[in-house]
């Protein structure tokens, strides 16, 4: 079958298996690995991280049982195919939220571990891996092992953010966060330019529970980096609570033709987005879903970019070089007239627990680009600026980075390789991304 990343620029023909019961997954891992194998959840990584062209893929979508839950402290054990949407359905009404959450609720918990995902509360809560107490991993050999910071800590560190290369995650134990209501109080303010935005985010990371900035990627000159800063807190019980709202979603039924998104239409949209928040700002109480997952209200939103798909770029730059790096990147984007929709600017709080964890203390910028001629050059330019400022590119979003840059961005790559060499000498775990970025290293290399 054909699988794609969410950006639909990366595609792969794979031999897929879809176990519905845990023992079947273990059995399949033990037997299907000619040309490698890789787990695939809901396909919300943008690039080729979840793809294994020409090899096997183990689909985890039917391995989605919740195994145990302790309401006294929110400890949940669930299978890797459970999604954030499942968590909200089951626990929001009982006063629990995921400890941190990506921008879509359709991502799986296995994917959250494998990409060590972060949310709008990274300064406060860290990334998903920071909340994992232990996980059950099917090794490439087919052996089922439990890993945690105490048990096999090196393998744990390789699995958190390890983009699936240590095996197939079967169960994950982590702690949900107790909240008083199913609503968030969101404050929105206009930020007239990049300096104001960076200062606003710097303040928000110290004071707000959640913070995220939406930047108009088309603005230039004195307006470069203008946008909307959102800060939010989970609402108190009863106080201003709003109904969770029906989960009615619309869908984009077909691929839109490529011309729909052009610099003019995107510019108009971005203008409107900026001006919808009044100059003096506003404060609203929103249902959790609407704040965390605005795009989930439109199923298959990736179709608006048409058949050719789109790239998402996300990198982080350490605090020290962030102002300069962000300016250089936004200028490059604006100059290229590449037509980026809203860009997202956030702060991150610190390093994750995985060898290949993305976060570091700094500022992170994420943007979508319709796939047009020349956009790969822009992406390479953005990666180079990030690297130049001591930053790194997020693998969950990436489809185009080169192996040399990757090597320099992830200083713990040597430790990661050492773990894989010990648990998977035959290199059964494979992915298109691993091959593109030469993540395993050349045979016989010693990092």
């Amino acid at each position: 079958m054909t699988l794609t990343g969410w950006g639909r620029t990366s595609r792969a023909e794979v031999a897929a298996c879809r176990p519905e019961r845990a023992p079947a997954a273990v059995r399949m891992m033990g037997t299907r690995h000619d040309n490698g194998i890789l787990a695939y959840g809901k396909g919300r990584s943008y690039g080729d991280a979840p793809l294994n062209g020409g090899g096997h893929t183990l689909l985890t979508e039917r391995l989605n049982r919740m195994v145990s839950f302790d309401p006294s402290d929110g400890t949940l054990v669930c299978e890797a195919g459970v999604t954030f949407d499942d968590l909200l359905d089951a626990f929001l009404a009982r006063g629990f939220l995921p400890p941190t959450s990506p921008g879509t609720a359709f991502a799986t918990i296995g994917g959250a571990v494998a990409n060590d995902i972060h949310g709008k509360n990274h300064d406060r809560a860290g990334s998903f891996g920071d909340h994992v107490l232990w996980l059950d991993l099917i090794l490439p050999s087919g052996e089922l092992v439990r890993v945690s910071p105490e048990e096999r800590p090196e393998l744990f560190a390789a699995t958190i953010g390890g983009i699936g290369l240590t095996g197939v995650i079967l169960n994950v134990c982590f702690r949900l966060r107790k909240v008083a209501s199913a609503s968030v109080v969101v404050r929105e303010r206009r930020m007239p330019d990049l300096d104001a935005f960076m200062a606003g985010l710097a303040e928000a990371r110290e004071t707000a529970g959640y913070s995220v900035g939406w930047i108009d990627g088309m603005a230039r000159g004195g307006e470069l980096g203008r946008g909307i800063l959102e800060t939010a807190e989970t609402a108190d019980a009863g106080a201003g609570a709003v109904p969770a709202g029906a989960k009615k979603a619309r869908a984009v039924p077909v691929d839109l033709p490529g011309f729909v998104l052009n610099p003019l239409s995107i510019n108009l949209f971005n203008q409107a987005y900026y001006r919808r928040v009044p100059a003096e700002g506003r404060t609203r109480t929103l249902p959790v879903r609407q704040f965390f997952y605005p795009l989930d209200a439109i199923h298959h939103w990736n179709r608006i970019y048409g058949k050719r798909g789109f790239y998402q770029f996300q990198s982080v730059i350490p605090d020290a070089g962030a102002a300069q790096g962000m300016r250089r990147m936004l200028e490059a984007i604006s100059d290229a007239r590449a037509g980026s929709f809203l860009a997202v600017l956030k702060t991150l709080g610190g390093e994750g627990r995985g060898h290949l964890s993305f976060p570091m203390r700094g500022y992170t910028l994420a943007l979508d680009f319709p796939r047009r001629d020349g956009v790969e050059d822009l992406l390479a330019r953005l990666a180079a600026i990030s690297l130049d400022q001591g930053g790194r590119v997020y693998l969950a979003k990436d489809a185009v980075l080169d192996a040399a840059s990757f090597n320099r961005m992830y200083p713990k790559l040597g430790e990661f390789r050492a773990v894989l060499d010990s648990i998977d000498p035959e290199r059964r775990m494979q992915s298109d991304m691993a091959r593109r970025l030469n993540i395993r290293g050349h045979e016989g290399d010693r990092a």
Binding site: R18, E20, P23, R65, M66, S68, F69
Partner: protein
């Protein structure tokens, strides 16, 4: 009024698991019956965590008809423990070896009939008096489009399901008199382990959609339904192909 309890027979199957989840989502308690205890325990935990309803696992083997008396008594007892709401039945088990396997080993034909037909009749016939006594409730049984006509590719399984369809017609008439509905659902292509990887499937429906439809049919007291509904058209055509032609086809 106490919540109903759905007894789900063959609960490890994709559709049955989806059905149990959906029924629990509507507030029903659930009894998961089947052979794979470990898997059912995991599903039971899942349903209990997600929906905060009572869930129990009960060992059940369709072919072991000697055990069915005790099984039915046990289930009725559990439903009473849950608060005494009406007991409903969802039957999803069946054994479908491929025809070539059966042709090589005729004992497999016997097993297919035992599990798919005789086992179903055995357990339903033991449940029937209890359903009559409670004077309400629903029985939903997964039949098959394979039971609408014997086809060269699948006729042992098909004949077992055909027998089951006929049995259900009679059971429907009997339980109707007591206020209990009996629904035969004939699924077309559903995205389950049974159909995974088969070539030539089209318009495949999800187990969840099928499960939701089954709940809807039960609430309405529908008699016989195809799911997805357009399979009624396909099967009407297939049923009406004259036998001299049909025997030459390899569908």
């Amino acid at each position: 009024m106490s919540a109903a309890t759905w007894l789900v027979l063959g609960a490890s199957s994709s559709i049955a698991r989806a059905f149990a989840l959906e029924a629990a989502g509507e507030g029903a308690n659930v009894l998961l019956a089947g052979r794979d205890r470990d898997d059912l325990d995991r599903s039971a935990a899942d349903i209990g965590i997600r929906h905060n309803v009572a869930v129990r696992v009960v060992d059940f083997d369709a072919e072991a008809v000697d055990s069915h008396d005790a099984f039915v008594t046990h289930c009725a007892g559990l439903a009473a423990e849950f608060g005494g709401g009406p007991l409903n039945v969802f039957l999803a088990f069946g054994l479908m070896p491929d025809q070539a396997t059966i042709d090589r080993d005729p004992d497999q034909a016997q097993r297919t009939i035992q599990a798919t037909y005789a086992g179903a009749v055995s357990v339903l016939h033991r449940l029937a008096p209890r359903m009559e006594a409670q004077g309400k409730g629903h029985v939903v049984v997964l039949g098959s489009v394979a039971g609408d006509r014997g086809r060269i590719k699948n006729y042992v399984y098909g004949s077992a399901k055909a027998g089951l369809h006929a049995y259900l017609q009679g059971l429907r008439a009997r339980l109707f008199r007591a206020g209990v509905t009996v629904t035969t659902v004939k699924p077309g292509f559903i995205d389950t382990t049974m159909t995974w990887g088969m070539p030539g499937l089209f318009l495949v429906a999800s187990p969840r959609d099928c499960a939701r439809a089954c709940l809807r049919y039960a609430a309405k007291g529908a008699e016989v339904r195809y799911f997805p509904a357009f399979w009624w058209i396909i099967m009407t055509i297939i049923r009406n192909i004259p036998e001299p032609i049909f025997k030459r086809l390899s569908i």
